[in-house]
Structures are given as structure tokens and as C-alpha cells.
């Protein structure tokens, strides 16, 4: 039941956005952070054949069924994370980058990230002065159950603080910043380990950038209330 196909016509020289009808799963194996359960991953493979030419393109990704939520707790002001409805005690590690000459091989990432999992961490915070980490980094975080807090490229030291204040309005080209942010989100958004996008380190990005990021990253209305109720607050089963 997990193999579906659809007939689609794509006009010449055009880009068509297509949403596949949702695939139903009963009791899927869920993805859990390190120390809370297994990191079940499904191999999702998508291919498109063009009539008369055979296979035209394919794509695949190891996907984890999980729901990660986080809210600010009013009494403590701290951020509470929940995974699949269960509150998580975050044992987080600071992550800047693996090598100052960016020799970022898969083997290096696997070793670094497994090391953090073996140290019993369940989250890595990618600092805003480092990198938007790479797909290989996230793949091993998916595999070893390390959730990721990923900051964009704003830091308190460089942007809007200091004497004299430096870069009070962040980078010179805000459109370029948002173009890079949007492309980075598209590159990383399917990873089970991605838990939180954060505007920057110790600093709120310039108002226009922060507003755009919040708008772009808000939950799609369709998923806002992903429970159907029959009025009595009971969930339809």
C-alpha cells in the first residue's frame, strides 16, 4: 500500500507544483531522539517517467515519522520541546563546525556526530557564526537521533552590538540573506532531526529579515490543527 503512481501532464518549458495525495500509514515506526527510542527511517523514493522516454528523474530521502513541537514555558521562560507528544529533557551540545578548512567528509561527520550521541546528547545547536550545516551532517543526526537547532547567520558580536556598534542593520543585502535562507530551508527541511530554526545567536535579526523568516517558516495552515474533531473536542478516529 506504500507504492502509488499518478498520471500527470506537464506543459512545455514550465514548472508545475504538484501535491501528491496523502499516503496513509497505520502505526508507522516513529523516529525518536537519542535515548528515547529508535530512530526509525523510511526510504521515500520518488520517480517520474515520461511516456515515450522512460525514467526521466528520481529522488530519494530517508524520512522519519515524528512530530517535534516547542513552546516557551510561561513560568520559567525556557523552551520546552516535545517529540511525538512526549516532553524531552534536552541534553544539548554546542556545534560550530567540524573543521576550519571545511574538510567536511561524510566519514568525518559520522565520527563527530556518533561521538556526540555516545556522549548521550540528544540535541546539537548550530551556532549562527558557523555554517548552515550540510545534508551529510543532518543525515547522521537523523541516524543517531540528535535533534538540531539551526541558527541563521547573525551573531550578537558582529551584528548590532559592540563599541562602536557594528552592522546595526545586519548584512548589506537583505534580499540576498533571505534568498540564502529560503534555499537553505529547502535543502534541509526533510530531515527528521531538524527541530528548530533560530534567527541568530544572542541577537534578533534586523526587523525586516526576522519578519520574513517568521512568515516563511510558520506552520502551513493545513497542518495547524492536524486533528479533526466532531465538536465535542474528541478526535475522530
Amino acid at each position: 500500500e506504500h507504492l502509488q503512481s499518478y498520471e500527470i501532464s506537464v506543459p512545455p518549458d514550465s514548472v508545475l507544483e504538484y501535491t501528491i495525495p496523502p499516503l496513509f500509514f497505520y502505526k508507522p515506526n516513529l523516529w525518536w531522539p537519542n535515548g528515547m527510542g529508535t530512530q526509525s527511517l523510511y526510504n521515500v523514493e520518488i520517480s517520474v517517467d515520461v511516456n515515450g522516454f522512460g525514467e526521466s528523474d528520481s529522488w530519494s530521502h530517508y524520512f522519519g515519522f515524528r512530530k517535534i513541537e516547542s513552546t516557551i514555558d510561561d513560568s520559567t521562560g525556557g523552551r520546552i520541546f516535545k517529540v511525538n507528544g512526549e516532553p524531552v529533557f534536552i541534553r544539548g551540545g554546542n556545534w560550530i563546525l567540524s573543521d576550519g578548512l571545511l574538510r567536511l567528509t561524510r566519514k568525518r561527520y559520522m565520527t563527530d556526530i556518533k561521538f556526540h550521541a555516545d556522549m548521550n546528547f540528544n540535541m546539537l545547536r548550530c551556532w549562527g557564526g558557523g555554517l548552515a550545516e550540510r545534508p551529510d551532517f543532518y543525515h547522521f543526526c537523523d541516524l543517531y537521533g540528535l535533534m538540531v537547532w539551526q541558527e541563521f547567520w547573525i551573531t550578537g558580536d558582529v551584528d548590532g552590538r559592540g563599541i562602536p556598534i557594528s552592522n546595526p542593520n545586519g548584512p548589506l543585502d537583505h534580499d540576498l540573506f533571505l534568498l540564502c535562507a529560503r534555499d537553505t530551508v529547502k535543502l534541509l527541511r526533510n530531515h527528521a532531526s531538524l527541530a528548530l530554526w533560530v534567527g541568530g545567536n544572542e541577537q534578533v535579526p534586523p526587523i525586516d529579515i526576522n519578519k520574513a523568516l517568521k512568515n516563511d517558516l510558520k506552520l502551513h495552515p493545513m497542518f495547524e490543527s492536524n486533528h479533526t474533531t466532531n465538536g465535542s473536542g474528541k478526535y475522530l478516529s
Binding site: H2, T19, Y26, Y42, S56, L97
Partner: protein, 264 residues
Amino acid sequence: AAVGKRVLDTGWLAARSTEVSLTGEKLTTTDPPAADPDPTAPWMHAAVPGTVLGTLLKNKLIPDPFYGLNNESIIDIAKSGREHYTFWFFTTFHCAPAGHQHVSLNFRGINYSAEVYLNGHKEVLPKGMFRRHTLDITDVLHPDGKNLLAVLVHPPDHPGAIPPQGGQGGDHEIGKDVATQYVEGWDWICPIRDRNTGIWDEVSISVTGPVKITDPYLVSTFYDDFKRSYLHCTLQLENTSSWLSDCTLKIQVSAEIEGNICLV
């Protein structure tokens, strides 16, 4: 050519731009560098993906900056000027697509901007360290399949300078660009002399038919206490041909159970 992605991470050469007088057009047509450059030539074997310093270290032209005070003996871009760390990267690849196939050249990360030359044709890769670049190269591939690729990579626009007292982020100039900021030095790391200039992430070529899949987005929703779940997927289908394409889109979800038993 087989449909799919092929990573270009071998056989790269590099040279300092100030030591190469040829243009990108010449390098990728009549005057390509020798595949195995002699030590006197400006060309050297390069580490791609990687940075300029990574390639210089690979060729032992600088000491390892992370040992002792070696970093002090590597000239900082603030003193040398941006052109000192503006580098050519060169490689060749074989690709002979069939009539209906399309070929893209993909850069997953360039720091900070670049000019690409393929078989004498030029394309500019705009600024920004954290953005992907995809070029449709179908029409500029050589009929015999042997292709010459040269990339001239420029450092960030504002590499900044490191004050004598150091400090977090040097003089903060790097913050004017959309690039990693630690490279001007921080309390935990010395300044990176080339500010991580280079083809710092994966380079690949993708061969597709007339229709290609772009940026699928997968989301799972849950009901009844996680007993019921739906997998949602939105993607873009790009028809690069000049005729209507009737397609069959397939999605398959499989899970390795234990060992090598697969549940489809």
C-alpha cells in the same frame, strides 16, 4: 548517459588567479592545464569540495594552521588583498547525453561568488555562501563527451581585518556579507586567512529526461495518538522540453525492518 546525479570530486586542479594569464574561455577550449601539472606550474592538485587553504595545505604550500603558531606565518587576506585568495579550479568530465536528455551542473555551496566556464561558455554564480546554483549545460556539452570546466572563485566582498588585539569576529566587516562569521577569528579559533573561500560543498552533474523533480517537501501528520499517520509530499516538476510531457509519477515508501528484510 544514465539518469541520475554524479558527484565531481576527483581530478580537480587549482591555481592562484594572479599566476594564470589565460582567460576562462582559453582554459576550457584551446589551453587547458596539464592533467598532471609539473611542480613549477601555477597549477596544483586541488581538494574539491574544500577551500583555498585546504588545497594549499594539501600541496604543502602552507603549514597546517592549527598547529603551534603556524597560522601566524600564513598571510591574512586583509594584508594580501582579495586577489591573493582568488583561485581558479579546473576539471574535466565525460558526459554524452541522448537526444531527449538534459544535463545540469550543480554547486551546493560556493564561498563567495564565482564565474563558471564550460567549453568556452561563461556563466556567473552570484554572491552568497549559503545558496545552491544549478546551470542547464545541455547545449554547451561537447559532442564527443569530453568537457572542460573552470571556476574562478572570489572571496567574500568584506573579508575584514584582524585588530592587533583579535576579538570575536575581528573588525566585524564579514558581517556585511551573507557568509560564515567565525572566519575573522573568535575566542575559540584563530582567524582563517582565506575566510573559507572556495568550492566548499558538493559539485555534481545531473542527467534527466525532459522532466525533472525539484525540491520535494515531505511532511507527516498524526491522528488518534499517533496510530494514524499521513505522509504529504509537494514537489516541483520542471518540463525543460518544448512539448507537453505526459508523465507517470511514482512514490514508494519502504522501511528496512531488521537486517536485510524490507517491508514495501
